[in-house]
Amino acid sequence: MTNQSNVEYQDCKGNQIHEDELYDRLSIIVKSQRTVPGALIPVLQTAQNLFGYLPEKALRLISRELKLPYSEVAGVVGFYSYFSTIPKGKHTIRVCLGTACYVRGGQDVLKAMSKELEISVGGTTQDRKFSLEVGRCFGACGLAPVVMVDDETFQRVSPSKINDILNSFE
């Protein structure tokens, strides 16, 4: 379980929010759900929306306030792939492994990307700049292999092009 402390949060308008403020908000929401049966999953969703992931401190708070064993909270988090305990990076890289990209070397691109960033699929770099995910066809098979970084698409990517792509992001 990662426990990142120097995390910066922004609200929907891009203003910076202090972490404590988010915990205050979470606390109010959890307390209002104390007596609601089956509140755990909606509360976890809310927490993930607030933080972008589920930090240990938030899970501890939820466990304490909902009077549920921490092991149970963790069990639910681990069961649903929707929930993540790993913080997301500033940019999300998705390497397509759909059929066309796969046969045209998507796997090599993914390997190289993973090596370059020193993370595996689902991971986030130490500086929280990039997260790495696998895509399952972006509908641009003619341009395979394709890599998407946030909303930007890169076509006919080869392992040698990866550095240029990464360097174009701050």
Binding site: Y70, S71, E72, A74, G75
Partner: protein
């Protein structure tokens, strides 16, 4: 009533019961690896599958309720093949090191595989990385052997309300354990071992002390004494083919001598000592509250059950002051064995090794608590469960059934009937009242056969009240007081009684035992403990009590002797140093 047909036989059953329960009523055994008596069925192992006419596929009998006219087949080639297939799949992920597994010959998966005729490992599948957690002093978890039946999770959550174990992850990668692969020592585990008691395989077991004990026995410089808890004598026989509830006290003593212990003593001796100290403590608390009008923590809670202590440290730290400062009988024994007895026997206390045989895994944890070194050494060195003692006896080839009866050594080998009943839920309470009532009134407890009937039996939370009349002059302040006591066994029930107390219900004294049924149902007892077996062990213990001349702790001559020669009087300075302690919050 609902009418169903099981294997073409008409059976009338309670409406809403499951097929599994209906079959049991009809005397038909359906195999299961995940069911836990009296707990909500999980349907996790899929071994209990049966055919139901008209159903699309076979159903798990433990989770399927009966319906009127249902036609069920529990035994056909189809059903047997399906069960066999399920077991083969379980085996494909199971580290089947049967030859070297502590559960060899005592494993439900192993027996079921044999029963169903699995003669080959059919599927050599991929396996998860094995993970062994031996972080705690009491329990070892081996993920490689876990078949994810979730029995441990059921008892940890639903019965004990501890919640250390839960299903983690999903699909092939799912496992049962604490959150995020934490070790047991990093979570709120109280080490009660109920998980180990229900595990069908070798995935959770006690941390063995057998080899340490053999080494101590073999070492000529060591003076090795053994104490046995009262619950052992009513259960050890089960490991040697005796019916549950057979008392084997005398044979157990003989076996312990043959194993090579230098002295065979009884934890009952210190159970009696506990009553002297704990009863005095209760009376003093009442005096402070009623006469001196001081702020004092009441009700007083018992402190014999180490799982309960750890549970309170985690979940109810605010009531730690209510818990009796008395150490448990196991720990009192260690403390006096390495002081009083060592001196008496002329042995250097550093050479004394104290081994205890306990029905309990949490006692292994308790023995190594930093608070338990008041003799100047670790008071209790090694703790064997009932199961471990049985293994040691088997290792030596002793024919247990052929043994003659022997008696414990003296002093510290004598215990009253009141000490015997420490093994049962309600027993510590009854033992305390037998003595306290007599101290206060000068008369014997005026109850039939000295039994405090309302606190006996398997009801989860039990209550009783006793009017105190005809007090001796020094206890006059208790005249007419209605002494209110409560008893809970199983930590889920402990929570209930604490919540009742917080809700304003008045108690003076509350007994908590961690395990259902009390120590006779402990996590270290022979498997598999059902309510029927608990009842039988409980009856055996009461029989042991009733068969004794000596039935009240304060009448135990060896207890009187230790006060005369060493401890002076209950609650004396030296008694405080050796027999009492204090606990701290583990709440985080």
């Amino acid at each position: 009533m609902t009418t169903v047909y099981i294997n073409k036989h008409l059976v009338e059953v309670e409406p809403g019961c499951t097929i599994y329960e209906a079959a049991a009523k009809a005397g038909i055994k359906i195999p299961t690896l995940c069911h836990v008596e009296n707990q909500h069925p999980k349907g996790a192992c899929r071994v209990c599958m049966v055919d139901v006419e008209g159903a699309k596929a076979m159903v798990a009998s433990c989770t399927t309720p009966v319906s009127e006219g249902m036609k069920i087949t529990t035994n056909s080639k189809n059903v047997r093949e399906a069960r066999k297939f399920v077991v083969e799949l379980l085996l494909s992920e199971h580290c089947g090191e049967c030859k070297t597994c502590v559960r060899n010959n005592d494993c439900e998966l192993q027996s079921l595989a044999l029963e169903l005729g699995v003669m080959d490992i059919t599927y050599e599948g991929e396996r998860l990385k094995r993970f062994i957690d031996d972080s705690t002093p009491a329990l070892v978890r081996d993920s490689g052997k876990c078949i994810k039946c979730r029995r441990c999770m059921t008892v940890c959550n639903e019965m004990q309300g501890v919640g250390s174990l839960f299903a983690q992850g999903r699909g092939f990668e799912s496992k049962v354990g604490p959150a995020f692969d934490q070790h047991l020592d990093g979570v709120t585990c109280v080490q009660c071992g109920q998980c180990a008691a229900v595990c069908p395989v070798g995935a959770i077991t006690e941390k063995e002390h057998i080899d340490f004990v053999w080494d101590a026995i073999e070492d000529p410089t060591k003076f090795v004494v053994v104490q046995t808890a009262p619950a052992i004598r009513a259960a050890l026989g089960e490991c040697f083919g005796y019916e549950p509830g057979t008392l084997v006290t005398g044979k157990m003593v003989s076996a312990l001598r043959l194993l090579g212990f230098d002295r065979v003593f009884d934890t009952n001796f210190t159970a009696d000592l506990t009553i002297m100290e704990e009863g005095t403590e209760l009376l003093l608390r009442l005096k402070k509250a009623l006469v001196d009008k001081q702020q004092v923590s009441l009700p007083q809670f018992t402190s014999c059950s180490p799982g309960w202590i750890k549970y309170a440290e985690y979940f109810y730290p605010e009531i730690l002051d209510n818990i009796s400062s008395c150490k448990s009988p196991q720990q009192m024994f260690g403390a006096v064995a390495k002081t009083y007895y060592a001196k008496k026997a002329g042995v250097n206390p550093k050479d004394v090794v104290v081994v205890s045989v306990m029905p309990c895994t949490a006692k292994k944890f308790e023995a190594q608590r930093p608070e338990m070194n008041d003799s100047g050494f670790q008071d209790v060195d090694y703790v064997l469960t009932t199961r471990e003692l049985a293994r040691m006896i088997k290792q030596t080839g002793i024919d247990f059934k052929a043994l003659t009866d022997d008696v414990m050594d003296s002093p510290m080998g004598s215990g009253s009937g009141a000490a015997d009943i420490f093994a049962n839920t309600g027993g510590v309470m009854e033992a305390a009242i037998r003595t306290a009532y007599e101290i206060v009134t000068g008369r014997e407890l005026p109850l039939d056969n000295l039994h405090l009937q309302p606190v006996i039996g398997l009801e989860g939370v039990k209550k009783a009240s006793l009017k105190i009349e005809g007090c001796m002059p020094e206890w006059n302040f208790l005249e007419g007081v209605e002494l209110k006591v409560g008893v809970a066994h199983g930590l889920g029930n402990a929570r209930k009684i604490i919540e009742a107390m917080r809700g304003g219900e008045e108690f003076h004294f509350i007994e908590i035992m961690t395990c259902p049924g009390g120590c006779i149902g402990g996590g270290g007892q022979p498997r598999f403990t059902t309510n029927e077996i608990r009842q039988k062990r409980i009856q055996a213990i009461y029989k042991e009590d009733e068969g004794k001349q000596l039935r009240k702790s304060h009448t135990n001559p060896e207890v009187q002797q230790i006060y005369e020669e060493f401890l002076e009087k209950p609650y004396s300075h030296i008694a405080h140093e050796l027999l009492h302690t204090k606990y701290n919050s583990r709440f985080s």
